[in-house]
Every structure is written in C-alpha cells, then in structure tokens.
C-alpha cells in the first residue's frame, strides 16, 4: 500500500526531464522575444528621432525628393526627402516579381505536374544552388555583365532600375519557385483525377483547376519573393548607381532604401541628423516587411477558408 502511494506522489525521472525541457524551451523563446522587441524598439526610437528630435516634417520625408541630410536648404531646413528611394525600392521589387513569377510558375509546374520525377531531380539541386550563391556574387555578375550590356543597348551608365530588376529577378526566382512547388504539391491529388475524369486535358487541368485552387498560396510565394527583393541591399547597391535622384526611366542611376543605408551608414556619426535620417529609412524598411508579413498571413487565412 504505502509503496504504491509513495510512488504515486513521487515525481518520476521522465516528469523531471519533461519540466527541465520545458524550462529550456521557454528560456530560448524568451531570449528571442526580447531580441526581437529590442531590435524593433531600437530602430523605431532612432527612426522616429528624425521627426521628434530634429523636427523634420514627416510629410516632407515622404513627399520630397532631395536627400542631403548634412546640408540645409534656402529656408534653413535639412533636405530629407526619401520619396526617390521609396519609388525606386518599390519599382525594382514589383518589376522583379512581375518578371520572376511566370518563370517560377513554369519551373514549378514542370517539377510538379509535367515531369515530377525527372524535373524535380534535376531542378531541385539547381534551385538550391541558386539560393546558396552569396548576394555579392549576384551583384558582381550584375556589375560586370548586366550593366555593360545595358550601357551598350541604352547608353548612359547602364546602372539603374533595369539592372537592379534583372539582378533581383534571378535572386528571388528560387524563393518564388520553391514556395510555388510547395503550393502545388499541397493540392490534393483527387483534384487532378476529378478534372481528368471529366475529359479535361492536362493543360486544362493545370490552368483551370490546379492554378486556381493554389492561387492563395501562389500569391504568398510571390509576396515572399517581393519581401526578399525589397530587403536585398548589397547586390542592388552594386548595380543601382547610388545617386539619390528620382528615376527618370529604367536606366538612370538612382538609389533604393537599402542601397542608401549600406553606402552611407559608415559615413555618419551616431545621434546626428544624417544618422537619424538613415534610421528613418530603416524604419520604413521594417514597416514594409511587417506589411508584407501581414499580407502573407491575410492571404493564407483566406486560402484556408476556401
């Protein structure tokens, strides 16, 4: 009697291990949560300082195109207009997504529908290789191959949105492809059977059933690619031209939010207006990536409902 009672009241070794594991897990989660919150707080406090401490108007920040944080203009106001960089960032992102999507879809369909065995066996390593190439290599290829070619075709320096778009297109292609493959593989096989059994050809099945059913997850794939393109700094910085000017076409030198950050952050002193202005750019990047994330979640939820 007593021995069973004692045993029942005594925590077993497995229970103690369970508690131990739980404690470790919670500690790790807490550390990461603190890290994320600190980063958010740091960027936000620095980024907002431009407007609260240095009294730059938020409106001129998002609507002006002259960027020269170290100098004052004729009215004694610092020249902090980020519009040109925002326009360029969005343009390269959207163009890269528009170019990459059809290629990514074609490759994904080839790997899942047209030649699932052979296609996946050959293309999977290729895509993984593309992911593994460092962005500086992409930028270097862009600088030595793409930029001279554009210069030859259109004149000028060759640097600008077009060069940035082409480099980003190759960089986000594997991301969009991999996620599209996942989206198509997640479709239940019975959709395919149902469509074929109604007399649909393979192509009709792909574009009328599979692509339509996978649309929410395919959109998520494209937005993931856009988030990556929006945040990419190094490769873009090497081919964009790094002149903070409103782009007048696809081949004029300009700058993105990220390229301006990477080129200038080493040239400013912490706590000064030029430094704070750069943090404001970082804040814009952070807010945008948050919006991309929310979009992905929103679309994912809608996809589950249907």
């Amino acid at each position: 009697m007593t021995s069973i009672k004692q045993e029942l009241r005594h925590a077993s070794k497995a229970t103690r291990e369970d508690v131990f594991g739980k404690v470790i897990t919670y500690c790790c989660v807490a550390v990461i949560a603190v890290l994320v919150i600190s980063i958010l707080y740091f960027i936000a406090s620095r980024g907002i300082a431009t407007f609260t401490v240095n009294h730059v108007s938020l409106w001129s920040f998002i609507s002006q195109t002259s960027w020269n944080p170290g100098l004052l203009d004729a009215h004694g106001q610092p020249q902090i207009g980020a519009l040109a960089m925002m326009v360029t960032s969005f343009t390269v992102t959207i163009l890269a997504a528009i170019i990459a999507t059809p290629f990514a879809l074609a490759v994904a369909l080839y790997m899942t529908e047209i030649a699932p065995n052979r296609g996946a066996r050959i293309l999977q390593p290729v895509i993984e290789l593309l992911v593994g190439i460092p962005s500086v290599v992409y930028g270097f290829i862009g600088l030595t191959v793409v930029v001279p070619y554009i210069r030859h075709l259109f004149g000028g320096t060759g640097m600008g949105i077009l060069a940035g778009t082409l480099v980003l297109f190759v960089m986000i292609l594997p991301t969009v492809t991999t996620l599209s493959v996942d989206a198509l593989n997640a479709l239940p096989g019975y959709l395919r059977d149902a469509s074929l059994a109604l007399g649909a050809t393979r192509w009709q099945t792909i574009h009328k059933v599979l692509l339509r059913a996978a649309t929410p997850r395919l959109l998520t794939a494209v937005i993931f690619g856009m988030a990556r393109a929006f945040g990419e700094a190094l490769a873009v910085q090497m081919v964009i031209g790094n002149a903070v000017l409103m782009p007048h076409g696809l081949v004029t030198p300009t700058a993105t939010l990220t390229s301006q950050l990477t080129t200038q952050i080493g040239n400013t002193v912490m706590g000064t207006l030029p430094n704070n202005a750069l943090w404001s750019l970082a804040l814009v990047l952070l807010v945008m990536s948050l919006i991309f994330n929310l979009l992905i979640r929103f679309i994912g939820k809608r996809g589950q409902l249907s």
Binding site: Y190, D193, S195, A197, L198
Partner: protein
C-alpha cells in the same frame, strides 16, 4: 445491346497481373455491381473503362474494351471524348474548391464556349438529376467544399451528368458517407439507371443487392461469377461466390 464489352482484358502493374483475362458485357440502362474482397481488381477494372489507369506509369493493358463498337484501348480513341461519355464518381467526394455552379459547369466550359443561358440550364438539369438541386439552388455561388459529404458527392454526380455521359462509373461512392447520405445517393442512382448505364464498385453487399440489376463477383483478378443480382445472391453457382456472400471470407 451491350453498352460496354471487355474481351480477354489483362492488366499488369509491372510484373504483377492485376486483371487476368476479363470477359464481361454491360447492358445499357442497367446497373451492374462489381463486388469482391479488397485487392480483387474491381476498382482497377472500373478505371480501365475511362482509361484512368493511363495515370499509372507502370500499368500495361492488353485485350480490348468495346464501347459502341470502338475499342477504348485503341490508338485512335480521343481520351477527352471518352471521358465525357464515360464519367466517373470517386470514393472520396472530390468537388473542386470553387462554387457549386463552377463545379457543375466545369466540364461544359472545357469543350466549347456555350452561351450562358445554355450552361445555366444544363447546370440546373444536372443538379436536379442528381437530386441535390433543392439543397443547393439558393447557394450556387457558395464554395462546394462547404457542403456535407453526401451533398458534395451528389454535386460530383451532377458535375459529370452535365457533360451528358452514356456510362457512369462509381468507385465505392458511399463508403466515405454516413448511412443517411448513402441512402440519398442510392435513391439518386436508382433514378439515374433508367437513362444511363451504371457500373458501381461496392464493398457493401446489401447495397449491391438493393440497387443493382446485375452483379459481378471478382476474386484475385478473375471474374468468378456474374449474373442477375437476384440469382447470384439467392442461388450462386460457384462455391467461392457462396462463401463470399455468406461472409466466410473477404
């Protein structure tokens, strides 16, 4: 007149022989049940009629299937037309994640661009034939996945009726459904067999006895016995048929 006839039909999955020479005739406006234990080849046989076995890369078929004097396995056959003439209902209800209307109109929109009015009318007729119209008529734009399993299965039946088939193949259409939904599907099928040739694979012997006109008993890739359902169930000629019907194996 026989709607479908098989002649010495063999099917191999790689080295394994799944169908070992099937000779059967399926009458028009008749419901034939294929029964037998799991793995006896009844679903495989069903999938030969609309060439769904083409999807299986290592399947090899010899022999012929005559559908209105045309060999289904012949090189000249149009798979698209064949599958419109011989429709299939699967074990799991498999509507597309689209609206009810788009599901039923799917097959119609594949072939040619019909006027909207014609599609509307065919969709309504098909849903009425499948005895699901009253339940979905006010929800035609809602996602078909939101309906119950039984309703989904009848939407799938309507989807194939809309392309005006001659033959309907059903692969255990009620095995994933509750008894009430199953009864509704059975009632629907009883209506449909007046106009269509129906072949139904079922594990449920009572179901076969209730709704089919003829029954085929298969075992290990062979047809053991076939005949009118009444005769086969009451006075089976073969001892194996008798044993199976009496629950001695399977």
């Amino acid at each position: 007149m026989s709607m479908l006839t098989t002649e010495n039909l063999h099917l191999y999955y790689g080295q394994k022989e799944a169908l070992k020479g099937i000779d059967l005739a399926f009458e028009a406006q008749t419901m034939t049940a294929l029964v037998g234990p799991s793995g006896c080849g009844k679903s495989t046989l069903l999938r030969c009629f609309n060439r769904m076995n083409d999807q299986v890369s290592n399947a090899k078929i010899t022999g012929s299937i005559w559908f209105d004097r045309e060999n289904v396995n012949g090189p000249a056959i149009s798979l698209v037309t064949l599958r419109q003439k011989i429709g299939m209902v699967f074990q799991q209800p498999n509507p597309f994640p689209f609206s009810v209307y788009d599901n039923v109109a799917y097959g119609l929109r594949l072939a040619h661009s019909l006027p909207k009015a014609v599609i509307d009318e065919r969709v309504e007729t098909a849903l009425k034939q499948a005895a699901v119209w009253d339940e979905v008529k006010d929800h035609l734009t809602e996602n078909a996945m939101g309906f119950s399993g039984g309703q989904q299965q009848r939407i799938c039946i309507a989807r194939l009726l809309a392309v005006l088939p001659k033959v309907i193949l059903l692969d255990e259409p009620t095995s994933a459904l509750d008894p009430i939904s199953s009864a509704k599907i059975e009632a629907t099928l009883m209506q449909l067999k007046r106009d269509y040739t129906i072949i139904i694979v079922t594990h449920n012997l009572q179901q076969a006895a209730r709704i089919s006109d003829r029954t085929v008993f298969m075992l290990d890739g062979n047809v053991i016995e076939s005949g009118p359902t009444q005769t086969l169930f009451m006075t089976p000629e073969n001892q194996q048929t008798s044993d199976y019907l009496n629950g001695k194996f399977g």
